[in-house]
């Protein structure tokens, strides 16, 4: 080949990649589904509001105040969301470290879900920063606040996103038909796995530790010295509960992608996860009983806050614990899904209590999120679902990869 030939050859090759990427951008399924028609306006409105927020400041769209500095974006999208994204590291631990093959069929979808959750929750976090550009101070080390929990959480958070990306990247390589890359990426999975789990445990606990400094501001029923540990335990059963829900939905919607084997595996996997969740919830309840006695919570029983606490504990923690046990014993997959939804509610309420509802209860004006805040919160999750769907329809997450990528 002479010079021009080479260029032409490269041009062609490049064109092919581009054409492939552009063709992949086009929707693969029906456009005018009810889901799309409902969610698209919310997403567009949310994006508009985000632009508005950066143009006019936080006051213009939020109800944040001097008494309640962290609003629904932090509390819901970050503090609650991170617990629910914990399924990825738990499944990775079981599959890659313990070599339990049973959960392999749901591993990739859990990792993808975790990856997207983290990416979008970081976005929510940046939205609430008053001076978002200065976030680079943390990264480039313009003074490291090494004794700050938030600093450590931020770094563990960022590095974990990288690990999740590496864990998922073989699927991307398979999609792009990049064989060498695929081999390389599969080779370093173990490194990503080992560090990913470590980083997860620490930042999950770190989010709990953030609130240790708010002593005296959070109602004592939701403040205790064990918060870091409690948050880690929550991330185990909370994360797996979300995996259950995601799997249940995906197995319906993306059924055409699944092999016979995958379809058959589902119920067994859900039942297995139910077993782990019930054990997780049991240790969580056990810890709560110790804390209850130790911190003398009995004194608060009978008050409004006491009832709210009991409702959470009995209805959203102890009840699903028994439901999980029951569904594990009876191998009832539908029941597993029900228990998972209740468990997720429990985590939602618990973490909102810590970060918002039972926070600064003496504040003269209670914080209620504006409709703009709620729209943005929802839009972030909807965009995440759109991207999730886009990827599932293109990359080998549920369906098998190309033949050359077998076994991964």
């Amino acid at each position: 080949m002479n010079q021009t030939d080479t260029i032409q050859y490269l041009d062609n090759k490049e064109n092919k990649t581009w054409r492939f990427l552009i063709s992949e951008l086009k929707p693969k399924t029906k456009i005018f589904t009810a889901f799309n028609i409902i969610t698209l306006p919310i997403i567009l409105l949310g994006l508009g509001l985000i632009v508005y927020r950066f143009r006019f400041g936080l006051e213009a769209v939020t109800n944040l105040s001097q008494d309640v500095p962290w609003g629904i974006w932090k509390a819901f999208n970050v503090v609650v969301g991170v617990a629910m994204a914990g399924g990825a590291y738990v499944l990775v631990f079981m599959t890659h470290v313990l070599h339990i093959k049973r959960y392999e069929p749901v591993l990739k979808i859990a990792v993808l879900n975790g990856l997207l959750a983290y990416v979008f929750y970081s976005a929510a976090l940046v939205l609430e920063l008053g001076r978002p550009l200065d976030i680079f101070n943390v990264i480039i080390g313009n003074d490291y606040g090494v004794s700050s929990i938030l600093f450590l959480v931020a770094w563990h958070f960022m590095l974990y996103i990288l690990c999740l990306f590496l864990e998922f990247s073989p699927s991307i390589a398979a999609w792009l038909n990049a064989r060498k890359m695929h081999k390389f990426l599969t080779g370093i999975t173990l490194v990503a796995v080992v560090f990913g789990i470590t980083l997860s445990v620490l930042h999950q606990g770190g989010i709990g530790a953030l609130f240790l400094l708010a002593k005296g501001k959070i109602h004592p029923l939701w403040y205790n010295n064990y918060m870091p540990l409690m948050f880690v335990i929550q991330s185990v059963f909370g994360g797996l509960s979300l995996v259950v829900v995601v799997v249940a939905i995906s197995w319906k919607i993306f059924a055409f992608q699944l092999t016979e084997k995958m379809i058959k595996a589902k119920d067994d996997i859900l039942v297995g996860l139910a077993g782990i969740c019930s054990v997780g919830l049991f240790s969580y309840v056990f810890m709560h009983i110790i804390i209850f006695v130790h911190e003398k919570y009995f004194a608060y029983m009978g008050t409004g806050w006491g009832n709210w606490y009991l409702l959470e504990m009995i209805g959203l923690v102890i009840l699903p614990m028994f439901l999980f046990m029951y569904s594990y014993k009876t191998k009832n997959a539908t029941m597993v899904i029900v228990s998972s939804v209740i468990t997720l509610m429990g985590i939602l309420i618990n973490r909102l209590n810590v970060s918002l509802i039972a926070y600064n209860i003496d504040a003269p004006v209670r914080y209620v999120p504006t409709w703009q805040e709620l729209t943005v919160s929802l839009a972030i999750i909807l965009i995440q679902i759109w991207v999730f769907r886009w990827i599932i329809l293109r990359m080998p997450v549920l369906r098998n990869g190309p033949d050359w990528a077998k076994g991964h």
Partner: protein, 288 residues
């Protein structure tokens, strides 16, 4: 040598903080980390007449908007437009005024919270906020037990507003504006340890004037700004439940566990990985 010794030791110190268990908490209340004695303020509420003068002086010293105080002002709170606020309280012995501002804790919760070291405890005592570092996360507001830092939500480039003990005036050898201009000498600036002695002397010499308590001597591990009161502090709305230990101590345990976990857990995981590798035919039942 590009890395001079000071920076080197500073960096070493920072690493040591991250690794050590509760090392920092041994720093005595009256001294900053490197041993300089902290300065502070003694505010005597039996002398304060509630003239609001210091609010104006403070605004002027910080080139901020002048406060607009009506004749008989309703109770006011600190907000993003002011660094200090004076409130008159009706108490059992009549009117007592209470000036609120940052307490300049010896071991501040806000600096322990701040991930960019924008909140910073200077060696001399003032806790300052540094605009070029802050990213506006407001964790300092969550952490401060006295609810001091305020945030300019209205702005697109918001600042965290709080008293800085007139750090600029201090640098020029002046004392803080409120103390300098107070006509009643209600605010005494000086070395923290001297101020505690002074406060004790006042209490002992005039037992009928004061309640026998120095608010700030031990609250939150000790603060640079301390209060003497002619009425029980509860009557003025002081939070008496604030823990006497320092707030950064609350997270020290967790922080010191991070480095070991970061190092040991991967090793452990690799061990488990190796151990379970050969027995990868685990049966369904023994999983949990």
């Amino acid at each position: 040598m590009s890395l001079n010794r000071r920076t080197f030791f500073k960096a070493m110190g920072a690493t040591a903080v991250a690794l050590s268990v509760g090392k920092v908490s041994t720093a005595s209340e009256a001294f900053s980390d490197n041993g300089t004695e902290l300065n502070g303020m003694l505010y005597d509420m039996s002398r304060c007449v509630g003239c609001f003068g210091c609010e104006y002086d403070c605004a002027e010293a910080h080139e901020a908007e002048m406060p607009d105080i009506p004749r008989n002002p309703p109770p006011r709170k600190l907000d993003e437009t002011c660094r200090t606020v004076v409130n008159r309280h009706e108490t059992s012995i009549g009117m007592v005024a209470f000036k609120d501002q940052c307490r300049h804790c010896s071991e501040p919760a806000c600096t322990a919270a701040c991930l960019t070291m924008a909140m910073y405890k200077t060696q001399e005592g003032p806790v300052i906020w540094r605009e070029d570092k802050c990213m506006g996360c407001r964790y300092c507001m969550i952490a401060c037990p006295f609810d001091i830092p305020k945030f300019e939500y209205k702005s697109t480039n918001p600042k965290v507003v709080k008293c800085d003990m007139c750090v600029n005036r201090l640098a020029e050898g002046e004392i803080p504006a409120c103390s300098y201009f107070c006509p009643e000498e209600a605010l005494t600036y000086g070395k923290r340890s001297d101020l505690i002695k002074e406060a004790r002397t006042r209490i002992i010499e005039n037992p009928d004037t004061y309640v026998d308590y120095i608010y700030g001597e031990h609250e939150a591990g000790g603060t640079s700004w301390m209060y003497l009161s002619p009425v029980p502090f509860e009557e003025l709305g002081f939070n008496m439940k604030i823990q006497k230990k320092s707030f950064p101590g609350l997270t020290k345990g967790f922080i010191s566990s991070i480095a070991p976990v970061d190092l040991l857990l991967p090793t452990f995981l690799l061990g488990v990985y190796q151990a379970t590798k050969s027995t990868s035919t685990i049966t369904e039942e023994d999983e949990i």
